[in-house]
Symmetry: C3
Subunit: 652 residues, 3 copies
């Protein structure tokens, strides 16, 4: 397909068939060209074990295809039917406390259960066999938002196999988990169990490996389904939709094994700069995909799962959708097409709300369809960045274990602390795994990298002339959550030119006063490091002299260390300097609340605020959304958007 995909989850089994034709007609009116079918259809397709009814689905797919609408076909394995839990309670997940959960909700399966796996794969095979050649089929959508965790005895056995593969011997495991402490040495494999509620802190090596295992177990669920699908449709790409910015699954690993990266994203309506986290998540998706990605789910208006769920104000849907395209999405989809009449998500908005087509929401959905058609030229185009932000799932898991200096440490907050000033400066970033080749970047930002397997890629990057910025609580432990000894952050001490003896988390109301010639005086909070410079230049320090921001020349490059949490304005000043020194070019210097990002040769501007803003955009452009010619400046109203392309060559 050329152009952008537009659509949403379509769950027609919720409605009588007479509604389906109306759905297709309204989809066409809205410009919908693609829908995802089948996500929650297991019980409808297989109402009793082995007894399958595909007739309704045949009719749905045929109807859609006849209407010119493509299908992302889901394997409905995220939500097993009641009969599976009833007949095979061993497929139901067991939580950390030892409760076996019930059905009546969704996601109630143990990823390690062979019984679940057997039933799921049989269904996937039947589905693939039946629809392999259906002309509407464009993408396989495996399961839904992989994230289930189980602590049952079957999982325990699976975990032990995984550990045997990883360590080879119990001695290796005992060493890795440091079981000499607290008398935790394992004498036989059968003694090893998943983390379960215990009298006190649980071994962090065990917890970290269990996090890895759970990610791998879910990955294995995905790959088993993918392999079945590929047998039948080697040419149809396979995805599974990520569940926003969450920790359970290593997205780098999962992305590596899927053909298309797809993302479910629901911006927080009560977060005044929620669009920054959206941008962050979109940049991450693009980086995971190495190119265009699919916004598989967003909400047309309200969701139903936060404590308070207001609708989106008029216009915001457009701004948020164009934002995704600007940052590399080639598809803008929703959960779900038609708002449910009943069930647990009936107050989750749909593209077609309870109020019907005569509604603000549906009118915005129709208008968005037109906008996306106008943006067709950017489909497939790249977004390029000369800055990379490092994000690593195993470090994330480890950094958020307990028994740490601060129980308030939150990786997403740390990411935001560094991402937001770059966003405000109009600097586009990629995300990168810490083992990646970073040589294409001018600047690499490491908000946090608590766990470091191998510091060499980052060290070499600096030595080779790059600029590194690193935040506190980095470089602390190895892959087994064992401290790198000799002063933190041992693997980075040389490149950073400093040595930390102790880490100092602060109380919730504590504020530090810092002095800096170049940044001016400022305040900071949350944390500081009791460190001394060993070669680095001190850029800012506490009033008692402890350095908090340092800059170190290393090899041909420069490494910065930010050992506290400066206020947002200072972070912006600091990163402006770093960006400038590193020779990074912002897309634009946008006013606060306005997003500027370039995709291909189109400059996207999004006003996330409600006041009008005027921006200087030197030269002449055509706004793809309006067709208007824009010369030297553009004004964006509330939630206003522009997609400025170079003028068409005259006479072209």
């Amino acid at each position: 397909m050329t152009g952008l995909r537009y659509g949403g989850d379509y769950n027609p089994e919720q409605w009588p068939e007479e509604v389906w034709a109306q759905d297709v007609e309204l989809m066409r009116r809205a410009g919908v060209n693609t829908v995802t079918v089948g996500v929650f259809s297991w019980a409808r397709i297989e109402p009793r074990p082995g007894e399958r009814d595909f007739g309704w689905l045949d009719r749905v797919l045929d109807l859609l295809h006849a209407g010119g609408i493509d299908v992302f076909l889901a394997t409905p394995t995220a939500s097993p039917p009641p009969w599976l839990g009833h007949r095979h309670p061993e497929t139901l997940p067991v939580d950390f406390d030892g409760h076996r959960l019930g059905y009546g909700s969704r996601n109630q399966f143990c990823p390690s259960s062979p019984v679940y796996r057997e039933h799921a794969l049989a269904l996937v095979e039947a589905l693939a066999r039946r629809y392999a050649d259906h002309p509407a089929l464009k993408l396989w959508h495996v399961g839904n938002e992989l994230g289930q965790v189980c602590h049952c005895d079957v999982t325990a056995g699976h975990f032990r196999s995984w550990l045997r593969d990883r360590y080879g011997s119990l001695d290796e495991l005992n060493t890795a988990w440091h079981t000499t402490f607290w008398s935790q040495r394992y004498g036989e494999w059968d003694e090893v169990i998943p983390p379960r509620r215990a009298p006190y802190l649980i071994n962090p090596g065990q917890r970290l490996d269990f996090a890895r295992f759970c990610s791998d177990a879910l990955l294995a669920c995905f790959m088993a389904e993918r392999d079945v699908l590929r047998r039948f449709t080697p040419d149809v790409p396979v995805t599974t939709n990520f569940i926003g910015l969450q920790a359970p699954v290593d997205y780098w690993e999962l992305a590596r094994h899927e053909d298309v990266v797809s993302h479910d994203w629901y911006a927080d309506p009560f977060d005044p700069t929620g669009h920054v986290m959206s941008a962050l998540s979109f940049d991450l998706m693009r980086s995971l995909a190495g190119g265009p990605w699919v916004l598989m789910e967003q909400a047309a208006s309200a969701v139903n799962w936060r404590r308070r769920n207001p609708p989106k104000p008029a216009g915001q849907l457009r701004a948020q959708s164009v934002q995704a395209v600007a940052r590399g999405a080639d598809a803008v989809c929703f959960f779900q097409w038609r708002a449910s009449r009943g069930g647990a998500e009936k107050f989750h908005s749909g593209m077609l709300p309870h109020a019907g087509p005569d509604s603000r929401v549906f009118r915005e959905v129709v208008a968005l369809g037109a906008d996306l058609r106008a943006l067709a030229p950017v489909a497939g185009a790249p977004v390029t960045a000369s800055v990379a932000v490092v994000l690593d799932w195993e470090s994330w898991w480890a950094a958020q274990l307990d028994g740490h200096p601060s129980g308030d440490f939150d990786l997403l907050t740390r990411l935001r602390d560094f991402y937001e000033p770059l966003f405000d400066l109009g600097v586009t970033v990629d995300f990168a795994h810490p083992s990646a080749d970073l040589s294409a970047y001018r600047l690499v930002v490491v908000p946090n990298l608590y766990l470091v397997r191998d510091a060499q890629p980052l060290v070499s990057f600096v030595a080779g002339g790059g600029t590194l910025v690193m935040g506190f609580f980095s470089g602390v432990v190895d892959e087994h959550d064992r401290v790198h000894l000799g002063g933190y952050p041992a693997p980075f001490r040389e490149v950073l030119g400093l040595r930390i003896e102790e880490m100092v988390p602060l109380g919730p109301d504590e504020v530090l006063t810092c002095t800096s010639e170049s940044l001016g005086g400022f305040t900071a909070d949350f944390w500081y490091d009791d460190l001394r410079a060993e070669g680095a230049e001190v850029v800012a320090s506490l009033v008692d002299g402890v350095p908090v921001v340092l800059r170190n020349e290393y090899g041909d490059g420069t490494a910065w260390y930010v050992g506290t949490r400066p206020s947002a304005g200072v972070m912006r000043r600091l990163l402006a300097r770093v960006v400038a020194e590193a020779g990074v070019e912002p897309v634009l210097d946008p006013p606060r609340g306005v997003e500027a990002v370039r995709r291909g040769d189109v400059l996207f501007l999004v006003n996330h605020g409600v006041a009008d803003v005027r921006l200087d955009v030197p030269g002449t452009h055509v706004d793809l959304l309006t067709g208007a010619t824009v010369t030297d400046s553009v004004t964006l109203g509330k939630y206003g958007v522009a997609a400025l392309a170079p003028p068409l060559p005259s006479g072209g």
Copy 2:
């Protein structure tokens, strides 16, 4: 009996027999004429299965009767003895998480347990057989504060039977529960279970039906006992005491099956207008009973189950007790006569405190006895109202399910938002079920009616000339918690003359600014509806024009809609106008904090504040409490009370 009953729970098995005679003597001193015996006596009566000891109870009842004290005899089935839990652990309740709870407390029974039922009914029969003809027996008091919920497998079977009765077929159940969503379709009855802890939100239809089932299961417990009792004493009325304003049991249903409505009420000492919730609960009880009711439990001073439990200040006990009589109570009783020396409730005050008869509390108890004798003329008299407030248990259950626009929605708060201004205006109200015949009322207030089975009674009420006031989040779903489509609140759109596209819950600190010609500018919070008038007059709107208060002429009547939560003062102004237009007559226009209500021909005035207040009461009355003649005005001191009767006909 003529006059009012006065007394409390009497648990003499806690004390040596020599104390009993002293109890009766002190009861007589206090004017106590009725006590409730046996609530927690199962283990004392039946110390081992089938082995019964009634001797002590014979002596208690004879002693009371000899002292002129009537008895409400309780079936002690709320608190099974340890031997039942020990020998039959299957009678112990299982919670939502799957824990089977222990004994050592009270209420530890599964309402669906046939083993519990068998033991309970055998005991009830023995009790009825023995005391059927005891002259002290005036009322059967079944169990105590029905509210137990269980999620065990026996309950699951019982739930399935109940569902079969309700739906007839699994197809009907699948449709009602909208199981096509999230792959929850049931293929066999055995698959259906109660809601149990699950990975995410549980099917709301399942939860709503389980709430109905739990209410019915408790009702069945009550009816089984009642039927046994009626076999032996067809002329002795039967009650069970409600546990305040709580959701677990549908009080309309329970009240329909009992002969007397009785109520346990403990005003919150830290709520400065706690007396308003008291009034609300008392009006509800009167409405449930269709006439006089019994205040079965209140506290003479402190309770022991809130986080902080201060005693009542001097005088408040009298004010709160007279308040109950004013709103229809024919009995004022307490938990409990003599404060326990040991056990879990020893810090719950008694009429006779730990300090003994030489105490403020006991002196107030004695004085209250005299007051209640003086109020004897009002016994049996009606309280009449021309306003009804609609309250429906199944809508309450449904409105408080999860996955909703606001997780902060609380039905009792919504009730209070509308009840309090009416209370302040001196307007007396009844409560009514939404299916009730409302034609006798001038005004019907619907603070919330999220679930609507049948809108016709309310619509007809307006069409027939009545005035309706409805609050937001009403008319949203049908009896199966499925949305009424086409714009909220579909069943009431026509009568209200408006259409809502989306509901907008607010953050905890958000405040709306509203404009209104008739009400003046005001603020509101918590919620507003994105609505447009379709015929209704806009009385108030947000500054951006969204209507928030509307008034619609419909048929011969008028319907108001309040789509936000205006500040309390505005609610009072608004309802004052509604009341006036509807031709509703307040009892009086009382100063703030003073309650005015008429029972029979007696005007009750209660000052719930601590400052003196002077009220105009035109004409001449006799204060029943003092015998004094009151002309044109009366002054009430701190917690002061007056019961103003018409002067006796001269020479009568």
Copy 3:
């Protein structure tokens, strides 16, 4: 050994053997003379059931001894190896909810488990047999921080045996537990169970006895190990380390059965007067020991188990350590010698931090070694006090049960309310059990004694001329948590000259205004008693006249009652007056934040603040820490310390 012991937990099994020699060298450099070995070594010593490896431990002990370092040898029974939980899941503890906890942490044993006991004692015997004659062995350290609680069925049987021993008959138990209330009468012993999660409040007599039983079950674990050890080494003293100020075990009982009292203490870094709680705990330890005690664990810098764990500021370690010596410690030890590289406590600081010997922490550790050598003369010296504070574990357990007037009542806060003003006044106190002979004291302070078995010792103390100060919620119940009737606090009404009818807990924001001729007007919060004086002089009262502070002459003595919670300044003024009237001599009148305490003939002064303070110390002294002569005054800097001894006799 003469002088003070200095050292810490040494867990060499965490490190390769080549590190051990370096450890001993650094210990010697730091002046460490004693280490605790083996606390968590079970799995290392006995990697498989019955298969023991002592070789490594032989080498450790020999190496230490060769280095001149004594050993406290721990029985590693606090942390059973995984094989015990795996092979004998019945040894794992079951919590209140009925969950059997997992291993992978520590402390996972049921104190009543015979299987655990058997394995633990076999290991203890092997350890004792092997090292009975090792010259490094100076003390047995049994287990670690006893505190485990279990609710399993084995525990239930053990609890029943304990109850049979205590009560002899079920009738006695039924009476004690007041089971006539709520139908809880037990008909057979087998029906009795530990408290387990139930629908509502659990019988408080049952809960109180279970608290006693749990304490006794842990005591029995200790005594069983102690008895084995004594068989082999009758001359080696035995201790077990207390876990700070906590409720689970009756320290008076445990201390009675051990040879040495040892204490783990971690001051709260976010508590600005945390040093006061330290002093309180140290005074308690000295009182439990009846003389010198061992500070078995403290942190060299940060811990890892609070929500936020900052390091200690420079100098504080010294101040806190000297504080312990000043209050009677003859040993200053740490958890742990070398900070772990891995495991759950790796961020708990060690004497030797991750940064290595070139670090502030290690330099302070070395300096502290020198300080402690300089303080050798005080080893064994007594601290004397003429004031006793009463603390009773069973009253603590009972006072914190639920269903009470205030759920915010916290015994430690009450202790602090009375201890802190005495500390500020420079008054040294002992702690005493309420049954103790108090005749040696001038003043006895009872912050709270909710449960009173026998009031006679306190009454006699006053009658004999002593001064008593008692706080509210005292004297309420007997040993079975049954109210002493007739007005609170019945057992003390006569000695206090007052009678309380009701207790009045306040809301969190309520403030009382009090008037007093001698104390001036003041505010109070949390609570007051509705009391009347019956003979006592009213020292302060609420504005409405309710007395809140009273003073009563009784026999030859005086009894004070404080029926509210006056602000801290007023408590200081009040206690200053009491202290003066009782003829108690403060050590000194220190400025705020400075601690003054005398041990033997040495006056210790500790500045817990960061500003310099100058104190008058009339006469001439020698500061043991510096050797300097001090005349008439001394100045202490930030965290400054002085240990002022009388000048050496000239020519001595």
